[in-house]
Each structure stands twice: as C-alpha cells, then as structure tokens.
C-alpha cells in the first residue's frame, strides 16, 4: 500500500464522515426533510470498493448512497443541495436523499426499493457484454436486500450469462431494526452465491485495505471474462437506520464495541466514541481496539499534522457544501415537468 493511496483512503473516509455528520445536523435544523439514511461506520466499504473501480465502470447504489456518490467523485455541494431538495442538486431536487444520480460519473442511482439494484446492475452488465468492453457494473446492496426475489433472479441471470457484475453486500447486520439472525436463515451472505456458482468471499468491512484488495482482485477477474463475483463486507452502522430511528433495538455494548473498531471515528474529533471497558469487550468477544489501532491514523504512515490537515480540508469542503445548498434556489414546477418530459426530443404530444 503506497502512501498516496493510503492518504486518499483516509481523506475520503474523513470526508464521508464529516459530510454525513453535517447532514445529520442539517436534518435536525430542519433544512433536510424526508428520510435520511446515514453511513457513519461503513466508510471503509465505499472507499475500499470504489477506489478499486475505473471511471468507465458503473456504480448502482441503494438508498444509503451519499457516500458512494461522494467517493465516486460527485461534488459534495451537489450531493448536499440534493439532500436539501434544491435546484442545483445532482438530481435537480427531484430525487432527494435516496435518489442521487450522476450520469457523468456513471453513478446509476440510489434506489429506495430494497432489492432493485440487482436488476439494474445486470442490465448495465448486459449492455457491457453486448458492447464487449472491459467494464464492470458494481452492485451495492445491504444484508436486508438478500431476501428479495430479485437477489436470486438476478444472480442466476448474471451467472448464467457470465455478466461483468460485482455484487457488493454491505452487511451491517440490520434490516432497519431486525437483526440478521432474525431475518436470514443463512447469515453468511457470501455462501448464498454458491447456489449460483458465483465465486464469493467475506471480508472485514471495517478494514479498508482488505476491502480494496479483494475488490481489486475480483474486478480483474471479472474484466478478463471470469463472470460475476460477490463480496460480502461485514460492517456496522453507528447510527440508526435513518434519522427517524434512534436505533433503540441495539444493545449499547454492541454499538460501542463496533464504534471502537471504526477506522474513521478516531480521526474526527466530534464523533470519538467512548471506548467500552475491557469487561464489555469480553462480552462482545472482539479485539476491537487492536483493529482500530491497525487502521486508525495510517498505522504510522502519516503523522498527526498531516491528518489534521486533511481533517480541516474536508471540514471546509463540507461547510462550503452546506452553504452552497442553502443558497441554491428551490426548483420550480416547470423544472419538474421538464424532468418528466426530458426524453421526448422532437416528438410533440399535444
């Protein structure tokens, strides 16, 4: 792992964390309405996976997609303006938090119906196959999405036709408030891919380097005609399902234990979690502190002054994004009609 890559990972994780915390704050202030599903805790997945992609690849995302878009390169101001529902948002204020789209960066959308990402991704994969290009469709989904019929239908077709699709499970252990042991007969998601003969692995989704390494290898295999792959990233969200959810169904010990494994929190002043005691960690059974140390401040590759520099850079970027969103006007009804009829080229329907 070279120094620049490490720095880029850390920078994007810090940006992601700062952005989401700012979004939470704006929600509380009433500037963002509707559903707001935040990503803190899961940054290593988005960063590890998307940094392994090429600009010519496609990303199909879920309703928890702000960070996927940010890491893909969508300017934070355009993401924030969309959360505000404003005209300068990346979807012109018609999509909102759950429907970010960025055609230029091949970001194929956030989808708010759980399980919709698979068919879109195999469609993109089919188009790639027809054109014979070395591109890949990246399909994000959560553990709650693996019990939708589309998971099985789409994996079957992807395997049958050897489509260039990388399925990325963000297993944060909860479908809204239902823990994975209560929603899935098989809790190791990657094992399900065996039913369709799709090579699959599970990776520590709190470890950005491992996520990146496995994803890079799988993408190489897919590009050289290997057919689809599935990677399950075991991760955890530190907040509730959405801003409307206090997450009361989760034991505090669990939240704290995971928080301490989180690679980002240590670096962002505002969100440093209280570390669980040794006794509490024994109950959870995970050497969380070791994990956090390993992936914390660059494992010695970066000095703290540099980290401080990145932190102030991303804080400023996010602050600018919020100001940009606040100043962006509301779209008008004429904009909405234009978005609806945008496909009609020269065809007149009057």
């Amino acid at each position: 792992m070279d120094r620049d890559t490490l720095r880029a990972f850390l920078r994007d994780m810090l940006l992601a964390r700062a952005f989401e915390e700012a979004a939470a704050e704006q929600y509380t202030k009433g500037n963002i309405a509707g559903f707001l599903h935040l990503y803190p805790g899961e940054e290593a997945v988005a960063v590890g996976v998307i940094h392994a992609t090429e600009p010519s690849d496609y990303v199909v995302s879920t309703y928890r997609e702000h960070v996927h878009a940010l890491v893909r390169g969508t300017p934070p101001r355009q993401v924030m303006a969309e959360l505000f529902g404003r005209r300068d948002g990346i979807s012109r204020g018609m999509g909102g938090s759950m429907h970010l789209f960025d055609r230029e960066r091949r970001f194929m959308g956030g989808y708010a119906i759980v399980g919709e990402t698979y068919p879109v991704a195999i469609g993109v994969g089919y188009a790639i196959a027809m054109r014979g290009l070395p591109e890949v469709a990246i399909c994000f989904f959560g553990d709650g999405a693996v019990n939708q019929g589309t998971f099985h239908e789409s994996l079957n077709m992807a395997a049958l036709w050897r489509l260039p699709v990388l399925f990325v499970c963000e297993n944060n252990h909860y479908q809204i408030g239902t823990e994975i042991h209560r929603h899935s007969a098989v809790t190791e998601v990657f094992r399900r891919a065996a039913a369709y003969d799709i090579p699959a692995e599970r990776v520590d989704g709190m470890d950005v380097f491992k996520v990146h390494e496995v994803t890079s290898r799988m993408l190489r295999e897919i590009r050289t005609g290997g057919g689809p792959r599935l990677v399950e990233c075991e991760t955890y969200r530190l907040r509730g399902h959405s801003m409307a959810d206090p997450g009361s169904y989760r034991p505090q010990i669990e939240v704290r234990a995971y928080a301490s494994t989180d690679p980002v929190s240590m670096a962002v002043r505002e969100t440093v979690p209280a570390y669980p005691s040794h006794e509490q960690l024994t109950v959870v059974g995970k050497d969380a502190i070791h994990h956090a140390t390993e992936h914390g401040l660059g494992a010695g590759h970066l000095d703290s002054a540099e980290v401080d520099g990145i932190k102030s850079e991303v804080q400023q970027l996010v602050q600018e994004a919020v100001e940009f969103a606040q100043q962006s006007p509301d779209p008008e009804m004429a904009d909405a009609w234009q978005c609806l009829h945008v496909n009609r080229r020269n065809e007149s329907l009057t």
């Binding site: 012109r92 879109v120 469609g123």
Partner: protein, 334 residues
Amino acid sequence: MAKEDIFYWQALNRALDAEMAGDDSVFILGEDVGLYGGSYRVTEGLYAKYGPLRVRDTPISETSFTGLGVGAAMTGMRPVVEIMTINFALLALDPLVNMAAKIPFMSGGQFPMPLVVRMPGGVAKQLGAQHSQRLEHTLMNVPGLRIAVPATPQDAYWQLRQAIASDDPIILIEHDLLYFSKGALDVEAVPLPMHRAAVCRAGRDVTLVSYSRNVELCLRAAQQLADERIEAEVIDLRSLSPIDWETCVTSVEKTHRLIVVEEDCRFAGAGAEVAATLSERCFFSLDAPAKRVAALDIPTPFNGSLESASIPTVKDVISAAQQLCSVADPGVKP
C-alpha cells in the same frame, strides 16, 4: 406494391426486424422469445438472424429481466422486453412503475429510458381468471409511462417502430385475440404520431370511443346502427397514455353523445378516465351523460358462455347507442 394483408403478429415481427437491422443497440428479451420464437410467434426467425445476445431467452423472472431492460436502457441500449402475458406483468410492476417510469424524472432528466415492454392483454378464449385480464388502468395511473394499444397490423407495425425509436418508456398492450387477425400493412405509408387517435368511421349521431380489440366491435355495431339511421362515429384511441383528447372532443362536439367501449372492468377502468375527462371538457355539448359499455366487475370466468357474457358484445354497444339516441333525441327512433 407496398400494401399487403398480413397477420398482426407478422406486423410486429417486421417492425422488430426493421429496427434491429437498423440499430445494433436494439435487443429483445423475454421468456421463449429466442429458440422457441415467442408464444404468439412475434419474434419468429429473429434468433436465427441476430443470435442469442440480441434475442435473449430469459428465465421465468419477470421482475429481474424487466429490470435488466431498465438498466440496459440507462446505458443507451434499446431493449424490447416481452412479458408473456399482462398477467405476469404484475410481477414486473416494480421495474415498470418504480424504475422505468421514475428514473428519468428522479435523476433530474439525466437518464433517458428507451425501453419498450410488449405484452398481450385482454380476455382471450377460456384461459381462466389468472390469464385473462385487463390491467391498462393500473399502468395508466403511472406518470412517466406511455401506453400504446395497437388495434390493427398497420398500427402494430408503426407503433412498435415508434416505441423503439423513442427515449420514453413505452408499454405496448397487444390483445391476445388480435395476433392472428389480418389486416393491411403499408410499410411505406407516413405514420401517424404514436399517440394520435384515429377516426375509423365518421358519423353524426353518437361518438363511440374505444381501443384495441373493441374498435372492431364498435365498427360492427356502427354498421348495424347505420341500418337504423343512427350514424356512429368510431374513434380508435391507439394510445391510452397520453390520450389524444382533441380528436375525441372534436367528435363529441359534433355528435353530442358519447359512449366509451372497453373490455376493461367498468369500476375504475380505463373508460372511467375517458368518460370523466370528456364529460368535463364537453359538458355543454353533451345531450346526455356519457355512457360506458365495459366488462363486468368480475374475475373472468373459465366457462365459455359466462366468459363471453362478462365482456361487451356488439349487441351491448348497439343497445347503448339506441338508448342514448332515443333518450337524447326522441326524434331518432331505433
């Protein structure tokens, strides 16, 4: 030379062939569309001509293969998805309603949706309640979707070609019983815009608005009504979303009487929209409230005679017209 009599399915087949030959991004997918040639023969011969990548037999997975069409359309391909019957389209409502119809809009206009979804719909011959139904009302209520309902081989050819060329998501509802009906096809004729309604027969006493298979029903009724000196004007809507209101309004303002004839169930059916809108727009022209001749609000019975009794007949249209004309103008005697 250009004009010939062919089957409706053949017209669709030629439209597909023409579009596939002219554009490599056009491809077909659906159950049994390839090697088998399609349940109603619509894709016959195309697999041999264009190969399995462009004529793709899919597993029985309506939600995902329709969604596959959506994803492919987002990258600029022009997929034509065949759903074996409209009844199975219920499984694909998510990609149709939540994806195809919404993505161009939700993306702020970034993504076009050049997707065509074809499906037979309507009451066929003794297929039972799960295989014989009309769901156009469900799809009409979705902003962002367009629906074409070709009634003739000529329209089947034109409208399918126009749908494939369009960047809007378009659903073609083809009536099961029309596939093996014959009609003239002139491939060189200048096509009507896809959504334009057609006046199939001019008349002065009553306007019969219909679509798909029931247009033929109305034409037969009009023929018989003419013997009784009731001249019915027959309009084929051709498109259920959007609807060409101008053509309908012009007609009703001339005849002052309106009957909407449909195979859809009466309650909250497609005809309810037509009757309500034209009642609003033509209130001062109408001599009597608009009438609806529609199917009964019952799942389609398997039994042949009950099945026939559940949908409109020529006789039903005639008696509605007689009634309307005598109520509105006692001078016109049936």
